[in-house]
Amino acid sequence: MASSDTKTALTDEPRDRSAGLEAGLDALETSATSRTPFSVTARTKILPPLVATAVVLVIWQGLITFNIVTDPTKLPSPADVATEFKDAWLEGKLLGYIWTSVERGLLGFLLALAIGTPLGLVVARVKFVRAAIGPVLSGLQSLPSVAWVPPAVLWLGLNNSMMYAVILLGAVPSIANGLVSGIDQVPPLFLRAGRTMGATGWKGAWHIVLPAALPGYLAGLKQGWAFSWRSLMAAEIIASSPDLGIGLGALLENGRNASSMPMIFEAIFLILFVGIAVDLLIFSPLERRVLRSRGLLVKG
């Protein structure tokens, strides 16, 4: 047995001839990667969106200050909108608005996840099912989910079930399609390698196909969330009822009914904020982690 200690490979024993050479090659061809320091992250990732926000605020305030837009029912000043936020906060309603919608959105999304995942698996793996409903499933993605609100109201009435139905109809196709395209893009080489190792059938699906399809699946989840959130807002705007509580969509609709532009702005900002926050806090870190561990994320 050749010595595996590379430090003693200076002997002329032919078996060891390559050991030191190999260690040298390994050292030359691998470079140490280090974590980006926080100061760099702050400068390259955090600063730009802050600057963009500041620019928008300055322009907005400028439109008011220099009397370019004079009608406050068309464009309220930033201060008016801030007051609207402050009042809602002091009345203790702000978090209630957010939570009513976020709870529905996340619960609906989880339901969509539970339905869309097995559906995607079956469509990807069973040829007959794919031929039967595959085109419909991708077609459904281009159908605006607001179209489902009228039938959902008639089927289920003005209640939470109707909201969930609209979310599901919007998000399930996205999640299923994401999984299908993730599975379609699994390199055939991985499947062959798996087969020679004895990973066929369910073993192959579990050990090879699903982990290989994960990036596509995650992209589908991300899109599924965006669809969930949009569907929910459509449903909340159209179907407002005192029994349903005031979510962000209802807040927007209330603003319109009261002709209160500050309230409308408040609702739009909150809807935008929640959409971005969920993406930034849940999906982006998840996606980055998966891509980075596979070396698919290029730094720069």
Binding site: T6, L25, T30, M197, G198, I208, P211, A212, S293, R294
Partner: protein, 261 residues
Amino acid sequence: MATAIATADQAESVEYAARIEHVSKSFGGPAGQQLVLDDITLDVAPGEFVTLLGASGCGKSTLLNLVAGLDDPSAGSIKTDGRPALMFQEHALFPWLTAGKNIELALKLGGVPKNDRRTRAEELLELVRLQGSYGKRVHELSGGMRQRVALARALAQESRLLLMDEPFAALDAITRDVLHDELTRIWEETGLSVLFVTHNVREAVRLAQRVVLLSSRPGRIAREWTVDIPQPRRIEDAPVAELSLEITEQLRGEIRRHGQQ
């Protein structure tokens, strides 16, 4: 000739690692059948290192797929001593697993109990001189290191026969030389049988005990050489170069025939 330590006791039980008998393979529909392999008969003895050499279109990779059981021959039969392990030109390591976990997956699918896998994986990494790389991700390894992990993963399958489909073709010359040394060392230590496909004549001569030359379209066995140059050889050694020259002439002859038709 190098002594294979582990082969002696196994040699009696089965007289071949792979037995390929009158194998033909054609592709395409009934309208345009194309014969890729024509009546191939070849034995790989236990512990033997055989290289299959040929120009493009000789069906050498097809033959390897047939032996690996990834495809069925159109005619003839292939018998192997257990399920062979297969190594590709691309490393085919799974990027969602670390180097160590890639090996452990092969162990798991091969039925190795959970408690033994970690130790076995570390041993295999040490065998390919990658001790300490257990937790490395595939993208953190160099091309040569990836192929060594792929080799360790193939060895984890405990197959009697290792099939290699141009595994070093995508590597630079320096790394390839080192991996030739590695493969020879591991082959001698483990007593494995190896069927190695390449289009590189010197590589074939450097590694093999027997070089089998395939002709192209359809692939037929054109000629065989027994290489009795003692290991460890180097690709620059005069006897290696000499035999390579002879084989290359023959190979070029095979290729020229196609230009004249």
